[in-house]
């Protein structure tokens, strides 16, 4: 039990921070200034990141195995990597919020509590090792984000955005549940590993498996804003408070992709999907190029910087989806390579760049107004040099200009995908390169607004606040640091990916792929995997069928 609690410490810190905020805030006088919750939230998020880093560094030395609570959560390097990333995103969001939220009349204590809850849900869904935990974690994150999007209650745009996001997100959740039900029906289990082993047996109905893969993927594609499911994105991103938009395009996207990759790789990857290996990578690659092209073309036509970045986030979802192809590739083909850390690395780069971009746009939210068009951004470089520089840096990084993070990220993605099926996806990579050339236009257009336009007569007012400057600073340092030392982040990401508990990785331990003809449910699949705690009482060990008297 203690072991489980220590392992899940990064998540528990976030949960307790949320509860603490809720309870203490209830006893504060309603006129009190709530800005300090931003600093408290940043500190709690930082503590969670530090706990994750500590587990990463010392977990091995303490000979801790990586799953907690009857294999419902795995806190291996992969989960820790993404918990740290979403924790940093939450920290920056906390810091950029206080002044903006109180200027917009929504700086309540619950706002900060919901931020913690959202980060907690992200951690749970990334760490999930079973469909149930995945779904509940996803819902915790989504619920908190729906409310945070709509929290500017006096703004029609914000409430409308929250409503749209909520309704469409609920439909996506229904898709996910439906797909999960099919997976459960096909495998008789909810654990990733058990499903993967059950699906690897011959005789799995391909039609139902395809349906399950499509339904679950559709739900994830909605969460990461990929093209057939991207309609909510521009409105939700524009209507949401700017700090929350930053959180959505960094942490929510990272958590969505992290959970999708783990799900594809650990639950459906490898032999489990052998009957679909011809179709699924091609499907993902096609969705990827359509997503990036649509996102970029629509971004070209936007006037508001916030909306431009919303479409740019669709485009980046496309780049990342192309990276997912490496995770669903057929491992039996000659020349197969394990996926490297390209997608986690790209997510780090994208998260820092969009955090920097949106926290710089937050300074425009003075006086409860929210406009991020050309007129407001012009002169930012002269009147508020720091915010202007951060915005320009973010745009350059998003555009993927060579010395920055965005460039290395795309390079790694391309390298990963080129290895699949002997370069079959080369045309898709060429489309990716063309897309990033197109995207440079609208990113650099924003940079031009910042620096190279004649200044308007009256200087617009900006939100000038210490914590917001910290937020911009942290995001900018993140871009520069990872841009200068990409190898380190790439190694961490690769170690994370290598630690996903796939059947192939675990075959040598305790599991063995079932022999053909064995009964599905008779397998001792519910047994612990690595370094089991002696928890025989907890494990749902198969009990002998005895003539039961109870009725």
């Amino acid at each position: 039990m203690l072991h489980d609690l220590v392992l899940t410490a990064p998540l528990l810190i976030l949960l307790f921070a949320a509860l603490f905020t809720l309870v203490v805030d209830a006893f504060l006088p309603s006129s009190a200034n709530r800005s300090f919750w931003g600093y408290f939230g940043a500190a709690a998020s930082a503590a969670s990141v530090l706990a994750a880093a500590g587990l990463w560094k010392f977990g091995g030395a303490l000979e801790m195995h990586t799953t907690a609570f009857s294999h419902q959560l795995s806190m291996g390097p992969y989960s820790l990597f993404f918990i740290a990333l979403t924790g940093i995103c939450a920290m920056v969001t906390h810091l950029s919020s206080p002044k903006y939220m109180s200027e917009h009349g929504s700086g309540w204590g619950e706002y900060y509590a919901l931020l913690h809850f959202a980060a907690f849900g992200m951690g749970a869904m990334v760490a999930a090792e079973s469909l149930l935990t995945l779904f509940v974690g996803l819902e915790i994150m989504s619920m908190a984000i729906y409310v945070l999007v709509a929290i500017k209650r006096t703004s029609q745009a914000s409430v409308e955005a929250g409503m749209k996001y909520f309704i469409m997100g609920s439909v996506a959740s229904a898709f996910l549940l439906y797909g999960m039900a099919f997976l459960y029906g096909l495998s008789g289990s909810t654990g990733y590993l058990e499903i993967s082993l059950a699906l690897a047996k011959p005789g799995v109905n391909t039609l139902w498996l395809a349906l399950a893969v499509l339904l679950t993927s559709a739900a994830f594609l909605f969460k990461v804003a990929a093209v057939p499911f991207h309609m909510w994105t521009p409105d939700a991103y524009e209507g949401a408070p700017t700090p929350i938009t930053g959180l959505m395009s960094s942490a929510v996207k990272a958590a969505g992709f992290a959970a999708l990759l783990k799900f594809l790789y650990a639950c459906l990857g490898g032999p489990a999907m052998s009957s679909l290996h011809a179709q699924v990578p091609a499907l993902f690659a096609t969705i990827a190029v359509v997503t990036m092209t649509v996102g970029n073309l629509l971004a070209l036509t936007q006037k508001s910087a916030k909306r431009t970045l919303a479409y740019s986030s669709i485009a980046h979802a496309g780049y990342l989806l192309l990276g997912c192809v490496a995770f669903v590739a057929d491992p039996n083909l000659p020349g197969y390579q394990q996926p490297t850390g390209a997608v986690p690395f790209y997510l780090v780069g994208y998260a820092f760049a969009s955090l920097a971009g949106f926290s710089a746009l937050t300074v425009l939210g003075k006086g409860g107004e929210e406009r991020t068009d050309e007129e407001q951004i012009i002169g930012l470089g002269r009147n508020y040099p720091f915010a202007g520089a951060v915005l320009a840096l973010a745009m350059i990084s998003l555009a993927g200009v060579p010395p920055t993070l965005g460039f290395f990220g795309k390079l790694q993605l391309a390298r990963d995908v080129l290895g699949v099926e002997g370069g079959k996806y080369l045309p898709y990579i060429i489309i990716l390169v063309l897309n990033s050339v197109v995207s440079a236009y609208y990113y650099l257009r924003i940079t031009v607004w910042v620096y190279m336009r004649p200044e308007p007569k009256q200087t617009p007012e900006y939100i000038r606040e210490t914590s917001l400057q910290w937020a911009m600073g942290i995001a900018a340092v993140g871009i520069l640091l990872v841009g200068i030392l990409p190898q380190r982040a790439l190694q961490l990401g690769a170690r994370g990916v290598a630690s996903i508990r796939t059947p192939a990785a675990l075959q040598s331990l305790r599991y063995e792929l079932a022999k053909p003809g064995a009964q599905p449910v008779a397998q001792p699949v519910a047994q612990p995997v690595a370094q089991p705690l002696a928890k025989a009482a907890e494990a749902p060990a198969p009990v002998e069928a005895k003539p039961a008297a109870e009725n």
């Binding site: 309540w108 619950e110 919901l114 149930l132 519910a526 069928a545 005895k546 109870e550």
Partner: protein, 217 residues
């Protein structure tokens, strides 16, 4: 004919009859009648669950669906107070036809799957002492399967984390609902007053707003 089989036919027939009554035009013209028919269907389903040894599910079906959810339905129906002439006749659209076809397809597939699972056996013995379904043996069988004790044991051991996470989810939903619906709209060091047209949303004047921080008790 065993007692169980008789009960099965009574409950199954009842469920189908109530479901049909819910949709039939002469009953369905009054929404309250439809809602009551739905309650009947839910009760029959609860009985079927009990026959399948899913005791807890059966109790939950009555408490949650026939109890809580139906009260909510009835509440909404009465709140809307629809008159019979306001109810539009059902029109067939392409989407509805497509949905129907897909529904029929899934229904057919389910029938096939159930027939296959039964392995062509003449009858499937579902009494608790049997551990055999369609030739596949299920270790552990129906030993305590579906009882409250067994479900509780699973919830607090293997599925402890999802179970606890659901309570966090409910908390988030409650906090979110309160923030969006009940939080008074007073401004925390806001430099500008709220737009005039939105003033009606604020449930108290400025002076009283300080006491209204956490909604009505």
């Amino acid at each position: 004919m065993s007692m169980e089989l008789i009960l099965f036919y009574v409950l199954g027939g009842g469920a189908l009859a109530f479901a049909a009554a819910m949709l039939l035009p002469n009953v369905g013209r009054n929404p309250i009648h439809s809602a009551l028919s739905l309650v009947g269907t839910l009760f029959c389903l609860a009985g079927l669950y009990a026959l399948l040894s899913a005791h807890l599910l059966s109790a939950l079906q009555i408490i949650v669906y026939a109890g809580a959810v139906m009260v909510l339905f009835t509440f909404v129906i009465m709140l809307l107070n629809l008159q019979p002439d306001e109810i539009q006749p059902v029109r067939l659209t392409t989407l509805k036809v497509a949905a129907g076809i897909i529904g029929l397809f899934v229904f057919g597939k389910l029938i096939t799957a159930i027939t296959l699972a039964a392995g062509g056996a003449q009858s499937v013995d579902l009494t608790p002492h049997s551990a055999a379904i369609g030739g596949a043996t299920w270790e552990g069988g129906f030993n305590g399967y579906g009882t409250i004790r067994e479900v509780g044991r699973m919830l607090y051991t293997t599925f402890l984390v999802p179970f606890e996470l659901v309570s966090v989810l409910l908390l988030v939903a409650a906090v979110g609902a309160v923030v969006l619906a009940k939080r008074s709209l007073h401004y925390i060091d806001a430099p500008t007053p709220p737009p005039a047209k939105l003033n009606r949303l604020a449930n108290k004047p400025e002076a009283a707003a300080t006491h209204d921080d956490h909604g009505h008790h």
